[in-house]
């Protein structure tokens, strides 16, 4: 793992789980697979804390364990999975757009807890939804269950590998760690539970409107001692399916930008039809006939068959090659070239970065070299119609930042520089990797800056929180306007200004992180898809 990735993982782990878990996690990412004692020894943390940290990390699918010979269990961190933590808000928002609030909360609970049993999820989500509803209304478990089943049917949530049922005839000591297995067919199988009940609202005497916890709250004992019906069956969010959805979204919006709304709807329909039949890593979808597409178009779209055919032909002839024609039966068989589409998206990202960083003339040269594959210095100047000096300057700038690379073609076997062609070329895969690395660095910088800003103003933030708490409690007990005014004035005007600035900055930095993550997703998908095909 590169330094930038490790730094980003460290920041994410620290924000989500605290410093102890971060220390253990980063150590595992750096050094690979290690047993428990070595981790404790190398990091200098107590065994208890290492155990706790590992439990947390395994629960969240960030660390896996393997039993080696002689009963030694080794733990390995999944760096790429740690980086996914940046994308959690996007997953939750996607669930909201597809399955509304219920789906949103289900996915949120699953992401926050790593893995959960279905009954636990349903209960918690019902409780949460009930609290947001008006007084007197409650959320039924059945409704939440239905949404859960729908999420499982569309593969957005999946079962975790199970502990195999051991027979007691097994002699000898039990293994040091269970080997978890999962059957492909069972991964989305929802157990038959009859979850009957309604969400519970927290009683108002317990509830704190201000969020101030009472000093001596009794400790929570587990509420239900009855065994839950689906014991041992845990569910987790299926991130690959979400990625597939993001990829489809990216392709559809690209088509919409390039052509028009109708063609993007056609592409969306084609992608929807291939969701189940095509695996997420396939280079292109299964062929779909034009008749099928016509039948599956959304109800609102009443375009005639001929118009559909025209659109399909237009899409297939487009130089970007998002859609390809693979045959003539059934009115024309069409496929979506997923790999090519991802390549186009990654290339567009690279072009955009060059344009914003170096200017539009550099972008022209970049697009030229992309199109012509290999060009000499002189040819670049001629084709781009840019004076030699400037062209040379721009090429070297891009070369130094590794967007463009040099390809040597020797004329003689001794590779003498005076008798060698030097051609400029763009290697998309390596440029994408370089850009991805920069993105990781950017996000790490953004997080660090945000933490710095928050720390700088910590005193002010705490003060404002306390004042808000006081105001809220006074409002609850009924206070006069004048008193509230007095309390509010505890924060002076310049302090208010400072708080405003802080809030604006933090929002901006957060928004930046989210958008850089979108680029990260694109580049990662492209790199993954290319590497798989090699």
């Amino acid at each position: 793992m590169t330094q930038a990735e490790i730094k980003l993982c460290s920041l994410l782990l620290q924000e989500h789980f605290g410093e102890i878990v971060e220390k253990i996690g980063v150590h595992l990412i750096r050094t690979g697979s290690q047993p428990l004692r070595v981790i404790a020894h190398d990091t200098g943390t107590s065994l208890d804390q290492v155990k706790k940290a590992l439990c947390v990390l395994i629960q969240h699918n960030l660390v896996i364990y393997q039993v080696h010979k002689r009963g030694v269990v080794e733990y390995e961190a999944q760096c790429s999975r740690v980086l996914r933590m940046l994308r959690y808000p996007r997953y939750i928002y996607t669930a909201k757009t597809l399955y509304s609030d219920t789906g949103e909360l289900i996915v949120e609970e699953l992401l926050l807890n790593g893995k959960m049993a279905m009954s636990a999820v349903v209960k918690k989500v019902a409780d949460r939804l009930t609290e947001t509803m008006e007084d007197g209304k409650t959320m039924d478990y059945a409704e939440v269950s239905n949404t859960f089943v729908r999420l499982a049917d569309t593969h957005f949530v999946q079962r975790c590998p199970l502990v195999p049922a051991t027979e007691n005839s097994d002699p000898g000591p039990p293994p040091p760690a269970p080997t978890l297995v999962i059957n492909e067919k069972d991964m989305y199988l929802v157990p038959k539970l009859s979850l009957i009940g309604k969400g519970k609202r927290r009683r108002s005497s317990d509830e704190d409107a201000t969020g101030e916890p009472k000093a001596k709250r009794p400790k929570h004992t587990t509420d239900n001692k009855e065994p839950i019906p689906d014991d041992g069956i845990y569910w987790q969010a299926n991130l690959d399916r979400f990625h597939q959805h993001f990829r489809d979204q990216g392709i559809v919006s690209a088509v919409a930008n390039r052509m028009d709304q109708t063609s993007s709807e056609i592409v969306r329909t084609m992608l929807r039809m291939s969701e189940i039949t095509t695996s997420s890593s396939a280079p292109f979808t299964q062929p779909l006939s034009s008749n099928e597409i016509f039948r599956s178009l959304p109800v609102g779209y009443n375009i005639s068959k001929q118009v559909l055919d025209q659109y399909l032909t237009l899409l297939a002839d487009d130089p970007l090659e998002f859609v390809g024609k693979s045959g003539d039966s059934g009115g024309g068989m069409y496929v979506i070239n997923l790999h090519k589409a991802l390549g186009s998206l990654a290339t567009a990202t690279l072009e955009s970065v060059v344009q914003e960083r170096f200017g539009s003339r550099c972008a022209r040269i970049f697009r030229l070299v992309l199109q012509k594959k290999h060009l000499e210095q002189k040819q670049v100047e001629d084709f781009a119609m840019i004076p030699a000096k400037e062209a040379k300057d721009m090429l070297y700038k891009m070369l130094s930042e590794n967007f463009i690379s040099l390809q040597e073609i020797p004329k003689t076997p001794d590779h003498a520089p005076s008798r060698t062609f030097y051609l400029y070329t763009v290697n998309i895969l390596s440029a994408a990797r370089m850009l991805l690395h920069r993105c990781y660095k950017s996000v790490a910088n953004l997080i660090e800056r945000r933490q710095f800003e928050t720390k700088e103003n910590k005193r002010l933030l705490e003060k404002s929180q306390r004042v808000e708490a006081i105001i809220a409690s006074m409002q609850a007990t009924g206070a006069e306007e004048a008193q509230l005014q007095e309390i509010e004035e505890m924060i002076t005007a310049p302090e208010r200004q400072q708080l405003e600035t802080l809030k604006r900055n933090v929002n901006k930095l957060d928004a930046c992180e989210i958008q850089v993550d979108e680029t990260i997703f694109l580049l990662e998908s492209y790199i993954e898809s290319t590497v798989k095909r090699q």
């Binding site: 924000e15 989500h16 789980f17 605290g18 102890i20 878990v21 004692r37 404790a40 107590s46 065994l47 804390q49 155990k51 706790k52 590992l54 439990c55 947390v56 395994i58 629960q59 969240h60 364990y65 002689r70 009963g71 269990v73 808000p89 996007r90 939750i92 928002y93 926050l112 807890n113 790593g114 502990v163 000591p173 039990p174 040091p176 760690a177 269970p178 978890l180 101030e212 916890p213 000093a215 400790k219 929570h220 041992g232 845990y234 914003e356 960083r357 170096f358 200017g359 210095q377 003498a416 520089p417 005076s418 060698t420 030097y422 957060d510 928004a511 930046c512 992180e513 989210i514 958008q515």
Partner: protein, 222 residues
């Protein structure tokens, strides 16, 4: 073969025209240090995307950041004692739900091992006086012997070495040598015990029990 044609004169080994410099032209300066840490950018970045969706995701992100701090998975680091005890700190402590992992899914070595089988009440009583501790230690000694006998049957290689190591080690109330083959208590008890000041591995195998394992008040009066 490389040719001494230059005979000490500066000459390029390749055609300088090929890289775009004409002969005799002043070459750009050699860069002798790494690029600046915060370089100036010629072009300002493009403004961020705005919209309902983006705002919602932003709000989600900020909420998530606050929520994860309150989850039981967020392992707090033990803060050093502050010089002044703030009254408000008592009222601002966040009470977290306990989380008990499903031990069937995890390697056995991750389960915390209990050294002493005392409940939290008897541990609290220990603080009030050494007298009570003396009566309890006798019980604990017996218990530990029992456990040792039972534990001998199940040991693996690692744990054997571990036990020997712990016997030699002087008692320091160290958490490291937790791994005796003690019976595995319920995790609940461990969680509850952590709330107080007592270190879990208070009693070590083969160490001296008695007054001097308790508070060190006696040792001071020489």
């Amino acid at each position: 073969m490389a040719g001494n044609k230059g005979r000490g004169r500066a000459a390029y080994t390749f055609n300088i025209e090929a890289v775009g410099f004409s002969r005799g032209e002043k070459l750009p300066d050699v860069v002798l240090k790494p690029p600046p840490l915060f370089p100036d950018t010629d072009y300002k970045p493009v403004p961020l995307k705005t919209g309902e969706g983006e705002d919602y995701v932003l709000a989600l992100k900020q909420e998530l950041r606050e929520t994860v701090k309150r989850m039981p998975y967020f392992v707090e680091t033990h803060e050093e004692k502050q010089d002044i005890e703030r009254y408000s700190k008592r009222y601002m402590k966040v009470y977290k739900e306990e989380w008990i992992p499903d031990w069937r899914r995890l390697p056995r070595e991750l389960m915390p091992r209990k050294k002493c089988k005392k409940g939290p009440k008897s541990e609290k009583a220990k603080d009030t006086g050494k007298g009570t501790s003396l009566t309890n230690t006798a019980d604990v000694l017996k218990k530990i012997e029992e456990l040792e006998k039972r534990g001998d049957g199940e040991k693996s290689d690692e744990e054997n070495e571990e036990k020997e190591g712990s016997k030699e080690k002087s008692k320091e109330g160290d958490d490291d040598e937790d791994d005796n083959a003690a019976e595995q208590e319920e995790y609940d008890e461990e969680e509850q015990e952590e709330e107080n000041d007592y270190i879990n591995s208070y009693f070590e195998d083969g160490d001296d029990f008695g007054a001097d394992s308790d508070d060190n008040m006696d040792e001071a009066t020489y």
